[in-house]
Amino acid sequence: MAAIAEVAAVRAARRNGIVTGTVVMTVLLAIAPFIGLYPVFVMKGLCFALFACAFNLLLGFGGLLSFGHSMFLGTAGYITAFTAKEVGLDPALAILAGTAASAALGVIVGGLAIRRQGIYFAMITLAIAQMMYFFYLQMPFTHGEDGIQAVPRGRLFGVIDLTHPLAMYYTVLVIFVAAFVLIYRVIHSPFGQVLKAIRENEPRAISLGYDADRYKLLAFVLSATLSGLAGAVKAIVFQLAALTDVHWTMSGEVVLMTLLGGMGTIFGPVVGAFVIVTLENYLASLGEWVTVITGAIFVLCVLAFRRGIVGEIAAWWSAHRR
């Protein structure tokens, strides 16, 4: 009994920690534009943080390493940009359309990919992502290398003028926090528990009567949808949908963000995304050296702190408390 009580206490403490962390993060982000941070930069960070959180849902909690997540980011970006610019939809509807497109793509790709595990799963997702890349490269509506440019930000629900930087910023922030809380809820729901069980021991979960494939597919589609949401918001923020977002290096980048921040931790991907975006932002003048530096950081991370930034801090903290 004492052991159970202790476990419950640890869990409660962890939950308190996460709630406090979420509140602190939200407050920090809410005041960011007023303490001298450049809103567009923070918005870029938020889009990638959401993308990495969605990816982490699949990798960290489902144990599935997808190497083609850029296709969901990019597809939503293109659909959002196209519907906002050419069809003239309200930005909210455009974002919804983009997200829905990624969700649909997630059902198809997930349905194919989850039949295999490990490296084969990664290769299938990579292969389909490459197909999508060349599809977008050749389709006339994406304008190839130029991308869909000058996407109007428009008025959210016909009321909020998104061309105002702060209006855009708080819209992105609200979307991010909502998605973040959703991911937290998913992870701590019975569904999330089963997902973790499958990650740890799939045959055992199946023997307990869980339909592992259905859980994995659902996790995949959720992750694809949220990645799509990130891509859709990004297209509205930057008023551009371009090939970079569907290129395979983007799939690699999100793996890097997640691992660097801490795979399987709730805040890890956010931290990882901001570290990478900051590096890219401030080292942009070094050109291609950015890739070399992020590569070196990746090697360092794998060799020296495998749990990632947040993972190491959490481990140190819990060891310290004893």
Binding site: H143, D146, Q149, L240, A242, D245, A284, G287, E288
Partner: protein, 405 residues
């Protein structure tokens, strides 16, 4: 006490505002130039670090700093990606006080930068990009397009080669804004001169292996293979065409946009006989030679391309306008001023900037010398003919620019 504090504060704010209005004409007290270019990839030799050198030389030669203006130059690599380029441009304008962006050798990136520049009411001096849409359907009151454009290249090279008997064309086209614009404009020029286009193939930017595209061009039996690409893509396709024996097989290669750095990379053995259009050659007169002599040591011995020359000349005109207006904040006003004054610089000579943003100056049809004709390093071009400024560029009414009334 509290009241006094508040009134002190009010005074301070009022004081700050006064200072603000007294100096607001020059933002941050500095004219900040952002050189946005390709610093690492296929266009880096023809623009890249050399464009920064050209900008520095423009600052020196304009004497603007002696007239009490402070000038600062920053630079960045857009990696030929519109998303990277536009986020740098946005950051420069929003939070780093950049007043003018120059160069941008990639039409896709340039169109994005032109849009952002208009939104923020700054100035964009385009020297690197080719697409004639910058002064056509995508024209902007904040953009000046210097140096060259796809219509001018098509009109010069396309017309000349078709009239020499190159009556059927096949295009190898870089698959982005620039390549498509160049193919479109060249097709029009070829058809006007009585030729026809038998086919084309789109190639991704920065391609290493052109073999399958060259084979398609070869089997099209077209008399002329038009290379609607630039920089590293041009040199790669010309080298590989030589390996396939395309020219020996009787087909002619037409490099539609060739820079002197491309000729240098190819070597005269491969490049000899190429005919194309340019607006600047370093060995034209004493002034261009003097400029090049100062330029080359600062850019790894590279002699200035027309893009470098355009960066220099467009900045000189910009400084004149800023000096006349004592203002660097209102982009539209500065560009209007640049248009209202005639241009006169050592590299392009006398000219003017048209209301659609197009800078007018003569263009030259040149032919690459044979190794025997070349007397010295970088002695590469023979000037075949001069196209006067009013014929070199697209007539004002044909562009479809909304600024033209």
């Amino acid at each position: 006490m509290k009241g006094m504090k508040r009134s002190l504060l009010a005074l301070a704010v009022a004081g700050a505002l006064c200072v603000g209005t007294a100096q607001a004409q020059i933002s941050g007290n500095v004219i900040k130039i952002g050189v946005l270019s390709d610093m690492s990839s296929l266009y880096t030799d023809l623009a890249g670090a050399g464009s920064v050198v050209a900008a520095k030389m423009a600052v020196e030669d304009s004497g603007i700093e002696k007239k009490g203006f402070k000038v600062e130059i920053v630079s960045a690599d857009h990696q030929n990606k519109p998303d990277v380029g536009s986020s740098i441009a946005r950051r420069w304008y929003d939070s780093e006080g950049v007043d003018v962006i120059v160069d941008v050798p990639n039409s896709g990136v340039a169109l994005a930068v032109s849009g952002i520049t208009k939104e923020k009411n700054k100035v964009f001096l385009a020297s690197g990009p080719g697409t004639s849409d910058l002064t056509g359907k995508s024209c902007s009151p904040n953009t000046v397009h210097f140096t060259y454009d796809t219509w001018m290249l098509a009109n010069g090279t396309g017309t000349a080669i078709t009239k020499q008997g190159g009556s059927s064309w096949f295009f190898i086209t870089a698959d982005y804004a620039f390549g498509h614009a160049l193919q479109r404009d060249t097709t029009a020029a070829v058809e006007k001169a009585g030729g026809k286009v038998v086919g084309s193939v789109n190639v991704p930017i920065n391609t290493q292996d052109f073999s399958s595209f060259l084979l398609q061009a070869q089997s099209s039996k077209a008399k002329v293979i038009g290379l609607a690409n630039a920089g590293g893509d041009t040199t790669n396709s010309i080298k590989q065409a030589a390996e396939f024996g395309i020219v020996k097989g009787g087909q002619e290669l037409a490099g539609l946009l060739v820079f002197i750095t491309d000729v240098h990379a190819l070597g005269l053995q491969t490049a000899q006989g190429l005919t194309f259009t340019t607006t600047f050659y370093w060995d034209m007169n004493d002034q261009t030679r003097a400029f090049s002599k100062r330029f080359a040591p600062q850019d790894k011995g590279i002699h200035p391309t027309m893009v470098h020359a355009g960066v220099y000349a467009s900045l000189l005109q910009y400084f004149k306008a800023v000096e006349a207006l004592k203002n660097d904040t209102d982009g539209v006003k500065i560009v209007d001023k640049m248009k209202s004054m005639p241009t006169d610089d050592p590299l392009f000579g006398k000219g003017k900037i048209r209301e659609d943003g197009r800078a007018l100056h003569p263009a030259y049809l040149v032919k690459v010398k044979t190794p025997a004709e070349s007397k010295a390093p970088w002695d590469y071009y023979k000037i075949v003919s001069t196209i006067p400024a009013d014929e070199a560029f697209r007539p004002l009414k044909d562009g479809g620019c909304s600024l033209v009334k």
